[in-house]
């Protein structure tokens, strides 16, 4: 009898485990049977993962979109940054959210794995004018000739420099905006101050994260346009890394500069510009608002980052709306994405921000929407701030926004980024030369890309 019990127990366990294994599967749902119609009355649940109405720009657009969807569509938010594991597990289990809000850099990986669906039908059915969106933003969400995400927001870099320190060192903004690397190295030497350790950073090229920017400024690119060939060992990229590392080495090395940078009150009144401890750096445009809020009286000069020919350029990033495979309500998801990113939504959001900034006695510095038409109309709402300094910041931001580039989508984006950042870190830490580190990284990145692209072909 005991043996029989044991046998039945084993059978029950094996059966339970076998049943549980059914929880793993693949989702191949498409929107083939869905009709998208801008005039259709919609209903049903619309759960959105990765988006939160955390500020007036998001809240205003969300409120307007919910109104336009109608009371029959019940919107619920899973707030916070998109948790990739949570999202992919939900898709694999056949219970995905109806819509996700993702970093545009993730779209290629999601599309390659079939976790999100192409939006061609959605775009044509809802009459979404993709011509309005900025080309690099659209490029970043286009995979295998299909658009997989509706882009929104643009993050661009601008050159920020401490005017007082520049004047004291006898250098100009043109010397630190990237247009002349020899002048920049010279300015770095003049601006940097050492007191045994680092007392003032001269020029902070913000490596490793801005290597794509410096490489592009030197005429190079980390990845081929089709997203299939790693170009990390391209001489223009190697030279860019050597230049950036040289700026750190001239100030005592990356370790010392980084430790000093980390000790700054980056978001507070004790920031590096207010305390005169940084000469110049490229930085994303949102930092303009931070500086304007916490240290409006600091003397700061702004320009775009420029390539070695003197032309403005910026490495753009942003977010995108994507519809997961297996979404129960793709029609509402598509309408939501369209409504959130249309021009009127941005104008309403801009007005909300203007109202708040006016109430706080602060200037409205604009919003970069990822939608070119919206950008133009929002910019028309920007009033002179009464300060040449902050007006120049806005000017630089919009000029950078008109001159962006991006890395093409690819199915191994996270791996690719980790590989080149690890290589840059090895060089920054003095463990490797730029040439050797980037050659090694290029081989590894190519291997990862080849495998990822081959997987797509194998899975059809």
């Amino acid at each position: 009898m005991a043996k029989r019990k044991v046998r039945w127990s084993i059978l029950a366990v094996v059966g339970a485990l076998a049943l549980a294994s059914c929880a793993t599967g693949s989702s191949t749902t498409t929107d083939d049977n869905i009709s998208y119609d801008p005039d259709a009355k919609l209903s049903g649940d619309l759960s959105i993962m990765g988006f939160g109405a955390s500020d007036e720009v998001a809240a205003t657009r969300l409120e307007r979109t919910e109104e336009m969807l109608g009371a029959d569509v019940k919107v619920s938010l899973v707030e916070g940054d998109l948790d990739i594991q949570q999202f992919l597990s939900a898709v694999a289990a056949g219970d995905p959210p109806e819509l996700v809000y993702a970093d545009r850099a993730q779209i290629g990986s999601f599309a390659a794995r079939g976790a999100i669906i192409p939006l061609d039908k959605c775009i044509s059915g809802e009459n979404i004018d993709t011509e309005q969106y900025r080309d690099p933003a659209i490029d970043q969400v286009t995979f295998n000739d299909s658009i997989y995400g509706i882009p929104e927001f643009n993050q661009v870099e601008v050159t920020m420099a401490n005017t007082s320190l520049l004047e004291a060192a006898g250098v100009t903004l043109d010397d630190v905006n990237g247009s002349d690397w020899a002048a920049m190295s010279d300015a770095n030497q003049k601006l940097a101050v050492s007191d045994g350790g680092v007392a003032v950073i001269g020029v902070d090229p913000k490596l490793p994260e801005f290597l794509p920017l410096w490489a592009a400024g030197n005429g190079g690119a980390l990845l081929s346009d089709d997203g299939k060939t790693a170009q990390l060992a391209d001489p223009a990229v190697v030279e860019a890394l050597e230049f950036g590392v040289g700026l750190y080495d001239a100030q005592g090395g990356f370790a010392a500069v980084k430790a000093f940078r980390d000790s700054a009150d980056f978001f507070g009144a004790g920031n590096q510009f207010a305390t005169n401890t940084l000469g110049a750096m490229p930085m994303e445009q949102w930092y303009i608002n931070v500086l304007n809020d916490v240290s409006p009286d600091a003397t700061i000069s702004f320009d775009t980052v420029r390539d070695t020919q003197g032309k403005p350029l910026a490495f753009a990033g942003g977010s995108a709306w994507a519809i997961p495979a297996g979404s129960d309500n793709p029609a509402a998801a598509c309408r939501f994405a369209r409504t959130m990113t249309e021009v009127d939504a941005w104008l309403a959001a801009a007005q909300a921000r203007i109202d708040i900034r006016t109430e706080e006695g602060k200037p409205f510095t604009g919003i970069l929407t990822g939608n070119e038409t919206a950008d133009e109309q929002v910019r028309a709402l920007v009033q002179p701030t009464g300060s040449a300094q902050w007006d120049s910041a806005i000017e630089a931001m919009y000029e950078a926004n008109d001159n962006t580039f991006t890395l093409p989508p690819n199915p191994a984006d996270a791996e690719f980024e980790t590989i080149w950042q690890d290589a840059v870190n090895r060089v920054l830490n003095g463990q490797d030369t730029a040439q050797a580190a980037l050659e090694d990284a290029s081989d590894k990145a190519q291997e990862a890309l080849d495998k990822a692209w081959a997987d797509i072909e194998n899975k059809g």
């Binding site: 485990l17 793993t24 693949s26 794995r113 990356f254 950042q421 463990q431």
Partner: protein, 332 residues
């Protein structure tokens, strides 16, 4: 009078349905007694079933499934594709595996003795200060209540090479502290020192062990002329060696699984620029492969390799412990 029988022993005897276990001799198996025993068996199963179900679904099944996944190519979305031992072969060819393992071994080999040494020193101190030990025990334990993520952030502040607290203190003694958070040579030593922040749990365990050391043995040693250090070395440490051994085992396993603090400080969201090879511990690399690059099959193979390594290390520790650990009332 019969020797007392523990409830666990009784249950073990009942569940196994044997006549010999449990340290007692059951009465002859009449049909009525067999029915009663069966009822007991089912009752026990019923009460244990929540744990059994939980164990099967949340422990045994993931273990077995990860063993299966380690033989596949699996990206979370698409169905796993069987690839045999490919992932294990790849483990031997991936230079980052050796790097990450070396980092984890370095951390464990230095951190475990240091952690236990500091914990023992603090416990010995607390054991001598009488009633005030309760207050200090609480103080030492408080950092264990700090979330590991916060400890990771704290590490960057306290060990900042420019104006962190540690270098400030070193500066008082004329020592120019290193760049703990940015110099690859000092990243791991910094993390090891930071881990001592959470030594409190071990102090509490050792203090409990110290308080169970028979006073008469220490008194005898004192009468024989043994000083504090001799008493500690020859009486106290042998008597608390089971607790020390327990700490060695769990801290070794924790050392190999070191993740949260280092990940938060060097690899977490918004900290990608901090990442460097010096802080790439094995479980961090496993996490990257599984949850960032979505190579779940490879990550599963990594998990099994780690399991085998920890199993082997623990087995060696168990063997060595036979010569070094003294069990009161036992034969060793």
């Amino acid at each position: 009078m019969a020797a007392p029988v523990s409830p666990a022993a009784v249950l073990a005897g009942t569940l196994a349905g044997t006549q010999e276990q449990g340290g007692f001799t059951p009465p002859p198996a009449t049909p009525a007694r067999r029915r009663a025993r069966r009822r007991n068996f089912y009752s026990a199963l019923l009460f244990l079933s929540p744990w059994i179900v939980g164990f099967l679904i949340f422990t045994l099944w993931p273990i077995l499934y990860s063993a299966y996944l380690s033989l596949t190519d699996y990206d979370v979305i698409n169905a796993p594709t069987f690839t045999g031992l490919d992932n294990y072969v790849e483990l031997t060819q991936d230079p980052k595996i050796a790097l990450a393992l070396a980092n984890s071994i370095f951390y464990t080999v230095i951190q475990v003795p240091l952690h236990i040494g500091v914990a023992l020193a603090l416990a010995l101190l607390l054991n001598r200060i009488g009633q005030a030990s309760g207050f200090f025990r609480t103080v030492f334990f408080l950092p264990n209540m700090t979330p590991p993520v916060a400890v990771g952030v704290l590490f960057l502040l306290v060990f900042n090479g420019q104006n962190g607290f540690v270098n400030l203190v070193l500066g008082w003694f004329g020592v120019a502290g290193p760049a703990w958070t940015t110099d690859p040579n000092w990243v791991k030593p910094g993390l090891i020192l930071m881990s001592l922040w959470q030594v409190g749990a071990s102090v509490v365990i050792l203090l409990a062990a110290l308080q169970s050391v028979p006073k008469e043995l220490l008194e005898s040693a004192r009468l024989d002329g043994a000083g504090f250090w001799r008493q500690t070395r020859s009486v106290t440490v042998p008597l608390i060696s089971p607790a020390l051994f327990f700490l060695v085992i769990i801290n070794t396993i924790a050392g190999f699984n070191n993740f949260t603090e280092a990940y938060t400080a060097f690899f977490g969201s918004g900290n990608s620029t901090y990442s460097n090879d010096a802080a790439l511990f094995y479980v961090i690399y496993l996490f990257q492969q599984g949850f960032e690059f979505l190579h779940m099959g490879y990550a599963s193979a990594m998990a099994w390799l780690l399991f085998l390594i920890v199993l082997a290390v623990t087995a060696v520790q168990m063997i060595v412990s036979r010569r070094l650990v003294f069990y009161e009332g036992g034969t060793q």
